[in-house]
């Protein structure tokens, strides 16, 4: 657990970066600090491992005041992932990951064995360990950065815009990877980003900060989307927040109905109804229109996944029927947008 108690940071040039921050980061959760530049999110993060010290106030990590611990010792117990990874160009990937264990006095052999385990944990092949950072892609470097931060198994992980320098597709992969790791490792993570979508995607709780170092709202992502504290948060959260908030509602209340199917490869006839084309494993392949022409299908959603997926499936389907599949991708049934909206309405009531 990390506790900020009335923390203020004023720099020598007179700017106030953080203003009376009171906030508790629960153990075993991902808390995201998000806001425009100059809102004090990175400054707040850097005060946790004493890269900066507060002007006033107290920061406690697991109940202990950080100002009472010698900075290098404190930092070895707190993982840190930096923008652009910050890997050491002159050390191999394996030795980069082994950095903190070596600093804390492990033998080289033991530290390297631990580093090899971590490369595997973050999904990198072992032979990459012998390479130098310059030989890796941006996404791979970022994974090595995460592995390096986890090497000494610290309970707390600080991540400063770790994925902002990679392209959107790679970023999404890294976010999924982080969520998968977190499910396994259960760390207390503070994650800084300027990207609200990233915050909503990975945060258990999100702290929205505003310029001048004020905390605007601290809440789970679903609450930010449905009940923003003020206009600033509403604006910052952005467009389509009503629709986006459906990501946090599960679709279990939506009953699926049966639908007429035709086997892929058979000859299609005209008929008054739309029919779903399925392959031998019952995986949806597209639709046959009443005039017997074949039309590509819309998005699919997995039964029990978010209701946003169910609604999108119905809205994007050429037949107006959203297609639900099971975990193996086999047809489970179909829903209409009307049905989905009824469930949303009834939940609201």
């Amino acid at each position: 657990m990390i506790e900020f108690r009335d923390v203020t940071k004023r720099f020598d040039d007179g700017t106030t970066a953080v203003n009376g921050l009171d906030l508790v980061v629960e153990a075993g959760t991902i808390t995201v600090f998000v806001g425009p530049s100059g809102c004090g999110k990175t400054t707040s993060l850097r005060m946790v491992n004493r890269m900066l010290d507060p002007t006033s106030g107290t920061i406690l990590v697991d109940g202990k005041d950080v100002l009472g611990v010698d900075p290098p010792t404190l930092r070895r117990g707190i993982g840190y992932v930096i923008q652009q990874a910050g890997l050491f160009p002159h050390r191999t990937v394996l030795d980069n990951v082994a950095t903190v264990p070596l600093l804390t006095g492990w033998t080289r052999r033991k530290a390297r064995a631990r580093a090899a385990e971590l490369l595997e944990l973050v999904g990198l092949p072992a032979e990459l360990g012998r390479r130098y950072p310059v030989q890796l892609s941006g996404g791979q470097q970022q994974r090595v950065g995460v592995a390096r931060a986890l090497a000494a198994d610290p309970p707390v992980l600080l991540m400063d815009e770790p994925f902002s320098a990679v392209d959107p597709v790679v970023r999404e992969g890294l976010q999924d990877e982080l969520l998968r790791l977190q499910a396994e490792l259960d760390k207390t993570i503070v994650f800084v980003t300027h990207d609200i979508d990233e915050a909503i995607r990975i945060g258990d709780k999100v702290a929205v900060m505003r310029t001048g170092g004020f905390l605007a709202q601290y809440a789970p992502p679903a609450v930010l989307l449905t009940r923003p504290a003020d206009d600033f948060v509403a604006n910052f959260v952005g467009k389509d927040r009503g629709y986006r908030s459906l990501s946090f509602v599960d679709s279990s209340g939506v009953e699926v109905a049966e639908v007429a199917t035709v086997a892929d490869g058979s000859a299609f006839e005209s008929s008054p109804d739309w029919r779903l084309v399925v392959d031998a494993d019952k995986r949806p392949q597209g639709w046959v229109a009443p005039d017997a022409s074949v039309v590509p299908g819309g998005s699919l959603y997995e039964v029990g996944a978010s209701i946003r997926g169910a609604l999108d499936s119905a809205l994007s389907s050429p037949s107006g029927l959203g297609v639900a599949v099971d975990a193996e991708g086999r047809l489970a049934g179909v829903v209409t947008a009307r049905q989905v909206l009824d469930v949303i309405e009834s939940r609201r009531g």
Partner: protein, 216 residues
């Protein structure tokens, strides 16, 4: 020429001159690498020191070497023929040559790399010795190569004030109007410079394997 080299006494004397030359040119090189790292670190950490030291080293470099060889005994109280004079003078030159590249190489270490090192719990000295300094090696090595060649040629000038080295072959040759020692002196100086440069390149490659992998 053949007669000159066929004499065993001459060959032994040549080897002595060569070893003197190596000693007089490489000791200042090693000392000034250490000095330049210390001064370069000061330049890197404290901006005002930077401007002063760079200006000072530029001025120093404009003093002719022969004049410096002659002034130094007066400054540090050594005898005129003491080899320490040449060593001190060349140390000054080489340090002046190396301070700036060392400071610039340290400035060029990416800030996210040093920040990551600090955040992982490196204490300042360990961070300097194991992260910043190794990353400055490629630039430092380039400076050292220039310094080694320049020292090897400047040591010859020292022979004019009688400090030994291969330069004595030139002074002797001129005095006796005898060409052979002059040619041998030139060839040995060239070979020495090339061999030292080759060794420095090997040492640099050994110290910076990460630089080579980045190239196709």
């Amino acid at each position: 020429m053949v007669t000159y080299l066929s004499d065993a006494g001459t060959r032994a004397a040549l080897l002595d001159r060569l070893l003197e030359h190596v000693y007089l040119s490489l000791v200042p090189l090693v000392v000034s690498v250490v000095l330049a790292i210390v001064l370069g670190l000061l330049c890197h950490r404290f901006r005002p020191v930077n401007a002063t030291l760079i200006a000072l080293s530029n001025v120093l470099y404009t003093i002719p070497s022969l004049a410096l060889f002659a002034i130094i005994p007066a400054l540090i109280g050594t005898r005129v023929l003491d080899p320490v004079n040449v060593i001190s003078a060349l140390t000054l030159y080489t340090t002046a040559l190396l301070v700036r590249p060392v400071a610039e190489a340290l400035d060029a270490v990416p800030s996210h790399v040093t920040a990551a090192a600090t955040a992982m719990g490196f204490r300042p000295w360990r961070r300097f010795l194991t992260v910043e300094l190794p990353l400055a090696v490629p630039v430092l090595a380039a400076g050292v190569r220039v310094g080694s060649v320049s020292n090897i040629s400047l040591v010859s000038v020292g022979a004019l004030i009688g400090t030994g080295g291969l330069g004595t072959l030139f002074t002797d040759g001129f005095q006796q109007r005898y060409l052979a020692p002059i040619i041998v002196g030139i060839v040995l100086t060239l070979v020495l410079a090339l061999v030292v440069d080759l060794l420095l390149v090997l040492l640099r490659n050994r110290l910076t394997p990460w630089v080579l992998v980045g190239k196709p």
